[in-house]
Symmetry: C2
Subunit: 232 residues, 2 copies
């Protein structure tokens, strides 16, 4: 039994909420709060208190009955579980609008995901500076991935180039891919792919708008649509 043993599997839905809790808890810590109950955390996160407790229970029994959770310790545990106890270098493929924005975003480096390199296939873009980083040609990808132990790749290319980008990332040794192109990308088993399509989000919104106006035009009714979302 290793001291750092693999815990029981954490449900996907819980994993998706842990970063939210972490963000709130970190802010509370900065604000000087040292203890927090599941009820308070639930309110801040906009979810049910029982859900918070069950989510946190997957990490272990880190709360104190009658008191709540010690913020600092909880932050430490969540960070460890999410693999945030060290940095994860990432590479960005595509130096267009989105790639440049991501590169200049700052939120990535700040949260432990320093950008090891941004790449583009277009020779005109190569060697230009984007957010203080030099755009590199695609054939340097494998070398950078190996040298800087990159395991996460971000696809910020046009749709048609997305699959090729994914293939190159996999060949270079990347095992997790965040895809911002509005296309399904296929990857071999064992590679984790997450797709974030902004126009899909927009279309989900306009569906609700659509229903809103349809309902309003057929009969003047008040709808109490409590629909929210939570990342994916």
């Amino acid at each position: 039994m290793s001291p750092h043993r693999t815990r029981r599997r954490i449900p996907d839905a819980t994993v998706a909420r842990l970063p939210i809790y972490l963000q709130i808890l970190s802010a509370q810590l900065d604000g000087g709060t040292s203890n927090l109950s599941s009820e308070e955390l639930a309110t801040l996160a906009g979810v049910n208190a029982a859900k918070v407790r069950k989510d946190l229970s997957y990490l272990g029994s880190y709360g104190t009955r009658g008191v709540g959770y010690e913020v600092q310790y909880l932050v430490y545990q969540i960070r460890r579980e999410l693999g945030l106890d060290h940095e994860w270098n990432v590479v960005i493929l595509g130096a267009g609008n989105l790639g440049q924005a991501l590169s200049g975003y700052g939120g990535f480096t700040e949260r432990g995901y320093p950008i090891a390199g941004i790449f583009d296939i277009d020779p005109d873009k190569v060697d230009t500076l984007v957010g203080g980083v030099r755009v590199r040609p695609l054939d340097e990808l494998a070398q950078v991935v190996a040298a800087r132990s990159v395991s996460i790749g971000v696809i910020a290319t046009p749709p048609v180039a997305a699959q090729d980008a994914a293939d190159r990332l996999v060949r270079a040794g990347v095992t997790s891919i965040l895809n911002f192109a509005p296309t399904l990308v296929n990857a071999p088993l064992g590679i984790t792919v997450r797709t974030v399509d902004m126009s899909v989000e927009m279309q989900i919104l306009s569906y609700h708008e659509q229903r809103r106006v349809a309902a309003a035009s057929s009969l003047r009714s008040v709808q109490a649509d409590g629909s929210r979302n939570q990342t994916a």
Copy 2:
């Protein structure tokens, strides 16, 4: 009974997949395919065929047994259901890296979401040109929203300004909000809010990476992690 009556409610999970189907079907249409079976569509979308049929059945019975679905008609029906039979003007709040990228993205206008305006509170940014659009001061927001019937607002501000941005959008009359700031924003009942937090996506990925290396270090095992995701 109006001819354009409100259909039975479509499950959230289905709504989130309709844009994917639409994208695939549109591409197939351009490629000259006029008919498609649920099996084929399922393969292209990377989901189960029964799921596709059930999803499409919420729109009505638009398939033909023994044949499949007529692509063009299905595209029309999905577009209508998603409210894509007309354009939805959107406003963007925040002309920083992300706001500029979204503005220059092109994918929005192209898919029926023209940008009615991009706004910033910083006087230095106001009147600069971003993606061919002039950045406007925040106090012109209400006027633009009213004049151009904007119902969707995008928050691309720093985290601390997100709630204020949301409040302003709601006051201006926007009823759907797409929030890219890594913060929970509160809105009154009846307003639809979706949050897309890129660093959350990153943290979900690094959780899987974390487990991968933990599993590999404890015992040299092959993991068949079939985890995928689907927007939302």
